[in-house]
């Protein structure tokens, strides 16, 4: 029977190629659109190395300070001081690991000892826990250790690309390298990091103690650091925030003029991405509301289209449904036929939608994957866009269209089964 239904459905599609094409393209477009939206969300939020643990990470991007007990409402905002980060975040006991990094170290000139002309690469200063918070793939060597950081040893981790460009090979751990005219030892070589890894991205990493960090004052609160926290589990987030709050109060008790406040940080990954400015909290409610409006709009328009078309199509076939009833089709028979038909149509639309999604993933690469932050980096977005076409999401999109198509076909079909058969047979 199902085979029969499919056969007829196929024949129906062929009978009116333009109309079928429209329905199918409509379905495909809706699916493609959903995929594009999800992809652009995925690329920023889905975990992949080295940011494998995005779901259990917390971020403190900026720090704010203001005068204690003062009528002056002004605040000073920017990265935090190293000492402050150590006493207020590094001291946390609930998380698995806490890493302090430089907020924006200038890029570095890198050369082989004895070489005159240096190449310019992105640089990041970190502590040893950075290698625990993030999941780098080491091709050679290993990261620098706590002892290295404490002693301020000039060790460096470089990416494959830096190693190849500088030495012509990637097996270079233990070799000497010149960074900003200072000699370092290569501690390890990691796989290139995509500029999409907003937090972990760089091309060379070195102990945070090897440079004098510009400190901004406000009794050590402001400076040039940022903090990444890896929780043992997502559910520890509130506990970590609580503990951080205790440490903050303790720090503020020790200052005379200034006090630190967090503007609702530490952030989850999603909030972190939207925290652009140091002096204001992102309005997550409005961001979410806007995204939802766009999403709803992009779904509702094809939805009206699809259901309108499916509906007209069914109404044209009322007479056929009547005849089927006359020859013994029950209500259930009719509804299941309608379901199989819309299934076929949706599947075809889904297949085409998948192709569209592939095309869109490439064509819209710039929009989906790049932003101003990344564009300033010297590295590249080394992520294959297609890798984000998640089968699960595709299935959801397909299901959504199936639901739409089926519902729009169901309603007229249901009406037929409630009307006297004669009326349906002779309806036009």
């Amino acid at each position: 029977m199902i085979q029969q239904y499919f056969k007829q459905a196929w024949r129906l599609l062929k009978e009116n190629p333009v109309l079928s094409a429209i329905s199918i393209i409509g379905t495909a477009l809706a699916i493609c659109m959903i995929m594009v939206i999800v992809m652009s969300h995925q690329v920023k939020n889905a975990p992949y190395p080295p940011e494998t643990n995005r779901d259990r990470m917390l971020y403190v991007k900026w720090m704010s300070s203001r005068e204690k007990n003062s009528t002056n409402t002004g605040s000073s905002n920017g990265p935090m001081g190293y000492g402050f980060a150590k006493s207020c975040f590094k001291a946390l006991e609930t998380p698995e690991a806490v890493s302090i990094v430089s907020a924006f170290a200038p890029s570095a000139m890198v050369a082989m000892p004895g070489q005159n002309i240096a190449e310019n690469y992105d640089k990041m200063l970190t502590d040893e826990d950075f290698w625990q918070v993030f999941d780098f793939i080491f091709i050679d060597g290993k990261p620098y250790t706590k002892a290295d950081v404490d002693a301020g040893l000039r060790k460096v981790v470089i990416t494959e690309k830096v190693a190849l460009k500088t030495f012509g090979t990637t097996i270079v751990s233990g070799q000497r390298i010149l960074i900003d005219y200072t000699e370092f030892t290569v501690s390890g070589v990691v796989k290139d990091v995509s500029a999409l890894a907003t937090a972990a991205y760089s091309q060379i990493w070195m102990p945070i103690t090897t440079e004098i960090l510009p400190e901004g004052g406000a009794e050590g609160i402001s400076g040039s650091c940022r903090v990444f926290i890896l929780a043992k589990h997502k559910r520890d987030f509130p506990a970590i925030k609580e503990e951080a709050e205790i440490l903050r109060k303790k720090y503020n008790d020790g200052t005379t003029t200034y006090e630190a406040f967090y503007r609702n940080q530490p952030d989850t990954h999603f909030v972190f991405l939207h925290r652009k400015w140091a002096n204001q909290e992102p309005d997550m409610k409005s961001i979410v509301r806007q995204s939802v409006i766009v999403l709803v709009l992009l779904l509702i328009v094809p939805a009206i289209n699809l259901s309108g078309m499916m509906n007209s199509r069914m109404r044209k076939r009322l007479s056929e449904l009547g005849v089927r009833r006359a020859f013994g089709a029950s209500q259930k028979n009719l509804l299941s036929q309608v379901m199989w038909e819309s299934m076929l149509q949706t599947l075809l639309g889904g297949a085409l939608g998948l192709i569209f999604s592939y095309i869109a993933a490439y064509a819209l690469k710039g929009i989906i994957y790049e932003n101003s932050d990344m564009a300033f980096h010297l590295g590249e977005v080394t992520l294959n866009p297609v890798s984000l076409l998640s089968p699960a999401i595709f299935l959801y999109a397909l299901l959504f269209c199936l639901l739409l198509n089926t519902l729009s076909a169901f309603i007229p079909a249901r009406n037929v089964s409630h009307k006297p058969i004669v009326d349906s047979i002779h309806s036009k």
Partner: protein, 224 residues
């Protein structure tokens, strides 16, 4: 002889917001097994309504419809569907074939709702199509056939499920005389050879005269 269809005090009234139309008024009718009954009357006299009520395509406003000894008023959707499927075959004036199915698939339709195996369905469809003389057109689509051929396909569809009753609503109305004669021949064969009960609505006196009994309708009432 056994009674096949029994209408007992059947009324059918159509109501719209403004008017009330009496399509059938107190119809008492008995159709016996193996009979070929012609229902005649001018258009709008209620003869098609009568056929629809007999075929369970439309419910009467009041009165009883008893077919093959079964009271039909209390049947649920699924029972009705099954009953129609097994006992009734329909032939319509404008054929009502499904354009998106080929001749074979159209004819197989009633068996589809009976869970007959695909091979068996095919065999039966081929057999009955051969009987109506269309074995060479089995893979065609309805739009590729002439009116007479379409009606013969429709007849094949009506008999494939082996129903004891065939209800034909102006089966020759859209056909020229030669094709009309062919269709009448077929109906006669079904009546005489298979012993099926046939009720045919027509306004063509000559076609009606070929049947075993004629009843006439005027304004919803049987007048003879």
């Amino acid at each position: 002889m056994e009674t096949m269809i029994l209408l007992d005090k059947v009324h059918k009234i159509y109501r719209t917001e403004e008017i009330e139309t009496v399509a059938l008024e107190n119809v008492n009718l008995e159709v016996r097994k193996g009979e070929f009954l012609a229902v005649m009357g001018p258009s709008g006299c209620g003869k098609s309504t009568l056929l629809n009520v007999m075929g369970l395509l439309d419910a009467p406003t009041s009165g009883k419809v008893i077919i093959d000894g079964k009271e039909t008023a209390e049947m649920k959707d699924r029972e009705l569907a099954r009953f129609r499927n097994e006992n009734l075959g329909f032939v319509f004036q404008s054929f009502h074939l499904i354009n998106s199915l080929n001749v074979l698939d159209n004819v197989e339709l009633p068996l589809l709702y009976r869970k007959t195996g695909a091979r068996e369905r095919r065999r039966l469809a081929e057999e009955v199509l051969t009987r109506v003389g269309l074995s060479h057109r089995m893979r065609h689509f309805p739009t590729q056939l002439s009116g007479g051929q379409c009606q013969r396909v429709a007849i094949a569809r009506a008999v494939i499920g082996n129903p004891s009753i065939i209800l034909a609503d102006e089966p020759t109305g859209n056909l020229d005389s030669k094709m009309g004669a062919e269709v009448m021949d077929l109906l006669h064969k079904l009546n005489c050879e298979d012993g099926r009960t046939i009720v045919m609505v027509t306004h063509d006196e000559s076609k009606a005269k070929e049947t075993s009994r004629i009843i006439r309708f005027l304004d919803g009432r049987q007048i003879s």
